[in-house]
Subunit: 514 residues, 2 copies
């Protein structure tokens, strides 16, 4: 056994059995070990951001880290943007990054670079395994770090000689540490705050948005009359028929400020203090008024479900019925494409337990209310806002949940950053329907240009915000990657194309010209 | 005037008048300034690696830095791999990276990240402009850093409030510092070494491979009988008819070791001590034998042309005729695709003063000797070996030399990392002919798998090395990006398709199935 094989065996014994790979020479021993050791499902991405984004999506569904396999400093660099998104989403990932043999680093060969330096800004945990005998325990430590609550980005750097030299150990990552308990005092304080009157928002994030935790939050809201909201973006939110209804904090600063203006108190439950996405001249960074009280029940590292359960008991809300969405699919719309029309078609056709990966940016803000009473589904946003998250995340979600339909809704500008993901979907036969919202511009930036106070765009600025001249042909791009596709120009055509995708077992791309 | 405008004016007055951009909200004031201030040619890339690679190509042709415009930490991260390549090539680039407003950074908004941390591994110079009044002088410092000899990567981080607040300065970067002179002693020592007999290689790199410097080197070689070679990869090498003939050090370790085995002395002129690309078990990192003497005449920061001129005078070689390639185009070949056949077609059809951007990896090592007597041309390699360099570099080269034909020869695996470059070529109407060598695998890795000593690939390993199932359809991918294209299956079809591309004024892609 060599170091690479000891790492593969350690990952498998520690429950990491999916690998999203874009390997190079320094990773060949890891690749070879996959032939010797059964059990690692390995999917190739043709760009590293596909691999890291897929690992994010996999974690969001399973709560378990996958590993990535990346090539030296530039390979890791190509994966950083989606690691940024994963880090902000609290997704656990084990990155295995090949490195030159330790003795070769002196020579400054072409691919030599500062891998630890590249890793640090987007990783919680970084280590270089300096010899084959330590690879197994380093690997187990990496898995342990990735399995923290919330998940963490762990980057293990594996020099070629640590990979190819003899090793005899297989390590086992310790069982995940349970999430931190919220103190009884915090629960009591929040209960007191909820009883004290005034207009209160319970702002939910992370694990509060799913399963029992969400149910407890619904009971508490029904009992106390407080308003239930989620953060503006959410890693995975369970919603639709049978789930607790809640609103989402608006993205735009004036909208969010207006929503929170009359609020006396915000209870943070797995959510952070609401802040503006960007600073704008003459607009606040903090979205709630100064006099609004911020009370924290639980943060990302806490046992959020238990805290909510205790809070419900304390408030006598244990058996209060939450406000649940009834199944009421929107009616299909026809004619001209509008944001509400897109949402109606989506909400009407979405199958039960679909996973919606939403990177609709400028078009999609109105999708949320229209789909609240559709069939039960999960909704995922980009948490780090680096464009190009949706297609890779859809890969990971589809591999994690092969029995569920994944629907990726993504602006054309966003999709272009990681379009190589289409090929991996085709190769792995993943059940993903992709909707490209082809507005042929960075439409979000047109409104931002106005918001930052520089007025209308002139010729040069417009050229930087438009994706026309030439238009991207997404039907051809899909074909080039081996993915079936169709184009829609109105809502009727969209319904037909979306149905075709949803009826397919493999990937299908709909270019919706908007 | 605001900070952004003072930066645009500073860049222009300092000679930086081309911008490769992929902007976001935090860059909107810079974009708006481009409408107010004439003179900056701005090309949009749909992925940041396109922008950074294009800036590398622009520098390689002009010797002048372009700027890039990138969005926060993840945007810069997406550009890092090609910054790595540019750094290794000695290309000067000014990166302008937007940042949140300084007062907004406390709030950890979704896009917040450690931009300086991301920049450092791939930059020589990093600075955050903390207020609008300092932006101009920071910008001038960045240009000065980028214009060092050799060029450097300078990353200027521009917070939104430094961008939008008032500024009244325009700064001018000082004239570039002349490159360091080589000491007369070094010249004398090298002359003595060349006169002392023994088998000597003059190993040329960087600025030694072009213009007068190359001519002086040719005279010296003709006079002293030493062998003239270039490094295995070169940022830009002038060759073909009328240029000094020289060999290239082989890429593969056994080939390079065999080449240097009988050599007593290597004179390094803008070149580094030859080292293996990767370490392999039981193969050396250093390619020359221990007893081979390494003598440095000049390094990248030196005035290489003057050093060679002085050396030629010292050796009495000032009027010695160098060995020059005569025009002798290879004959067109037909039939089955072979590496030599590809090179023959290329060498036969290549127009005068073409710029060949070579990322042919596994197929292309034999292209070099076959094209040595073709029409005069420039040949560019990836210096950092991070895949996805060729298409972006071709953009920059084509913008820098609109009167020259750019030919990008790139493996399908490599091209996929930055295929978005095709769209920028179409939009800017760039005169680039792209040859995709579609071997439908990471072919290089198959041989590497054997070299690192793990033997033949099994099923899982093979899946990580092949790009089939499904095959990429490059004709469709080109169409998707608005680029005309054709496919060739044999050398006759390749000649026809390549001719079509060379006859076109805009981009044309040839998928050569190999």
């Amino acid at each position: 056994m060599n170091g690479a094989e000891s790492l593969v065996r350690t990952l498998l014994s520690s429950g990491v059995d999916v690998c999203f790979a874009n390997p190079g020479t320094s990773e060949m021993h890891f690749i070879a070990a996959l032939d010797k050791v059964a059990g690692m499902r390995c999917a190739l991405g043709l760009f590293e951001g596909v691999a890291t984004g897929a690992a994010d999506g996999y974690f969001r569904i399973t709560g378990r880290p996958a590993c990535t396999l990346l090539h030296l400093a530039p390979g890791l660099a190509n994966g950083l943007a989606n690691l940024h998104n994963a880090k902000k989403a609290g997704s656990g990932i084990v990155n295995v990054v090949g490195q030159h043999a330790t003795y070769h680093l002196n020579y400054d060969a072409p691919l030599t670079g500062d891998i630890e330096g590249v890793a640090k800004p987007m990783s919680h945990w970084v280590r270089t395994s300096m010899s084959s005998s330590g690879v197994a325990s380093d690997g187990a430590d990496a898995v342990q770090a990735a399995r923290s609550t919330p998940g963490q980005i762990a980057t293990l750097i594996l020099p070629a000689d640590a990979s190819w030299a003899a090793a005899d150990e297989v390590a086992l990552a310790p069982a995940p540490t349970p999430p931190r308990a919220v103190s009884p005092d915090a629960v009591t304080a929040v209960a007191k705050a909820l009883r004290s009157g005034g207009r209160t928002v319970m702002l939910l994030g992370g694990a509060a948005l799913r399963g029992k935790a969400l149910e407890w939050a619904g009971r508490i809201a029904a009992k106390t009359g407080c308003r239930l909201m989620s953060e503006g973006q959410n890693a995975r939110l369970e919603r639709g028929a049978g789930r607790v209804k809640l609103d989402r904090l608006p993205y735009d600063v004036p909208g969010a400020v207006a929503t929170l203006k009359e609020i006396d108190r915000v209870i943070l439950i797995g959510a952070k203090t609401p802040v503006a996405f960007f600073a704008y001249p003459d607009q606040p960074s903090l979205l709630a008024p100064k006099e609004c009280e911020m009370v924290t029940l639980a943060q990302g590292e806490h046992d959020i479900e238990s805290a909510l359960e205790e809070l419900a008991h304390e408030l006598g809300a244990s058996t209060t019925a939450p406000v649940i969405a009834d199944l009421q699919r929107p009616a299909l719309q026809e004619g001209k494409v509008t944001p509400e029309g897109i949402a109606a078609v989506l909400g009407a056709l979405m199958p039960e337990h679909a996973v919606v990966v939403d990177e609709s940016i400028s078009m999609g803000r109105g999708f949320f209310p229209v789909t609240v009473s559709s069939a039960p589904h999960d909704w995922m946003n980009s948490m780090g806002a680096s464009l190009g998250y949706a297609l890779p995340v859809a890969i990971g979600a589809a591999m994690a949940a092969p029995d569920r339909k994944v629907i990726a809704i993504v602006g054309d500008g966003s999709a272009m950053y990681t379009l190589q993901a289409l090929w991996t979907m085709a190769r792995e036969g993943l059940d993903v329907t992709i909707v490209i919202l082809a507005n042929r511009s960075y439409n979000i930036l047109r409104s931002e240009l106005a918001k930052v106070g520089v007025g209308a765009a002139g010729r040069t600025a417009l050229d930087m915000l438009t994706l026309d001249n030439p238009n991207l042909d997404w039907v051809a791009l899909a074909k080039g990657h081996g993915v079936a596709s169709g184009r829609a120009h109105d809502l009727g055509e969209f319904a037909k194309e979306l149905s075709r995708g949803l009826a397919s077992d493999g990937p299908y791309l709909v270019e919706l010209v908007v």
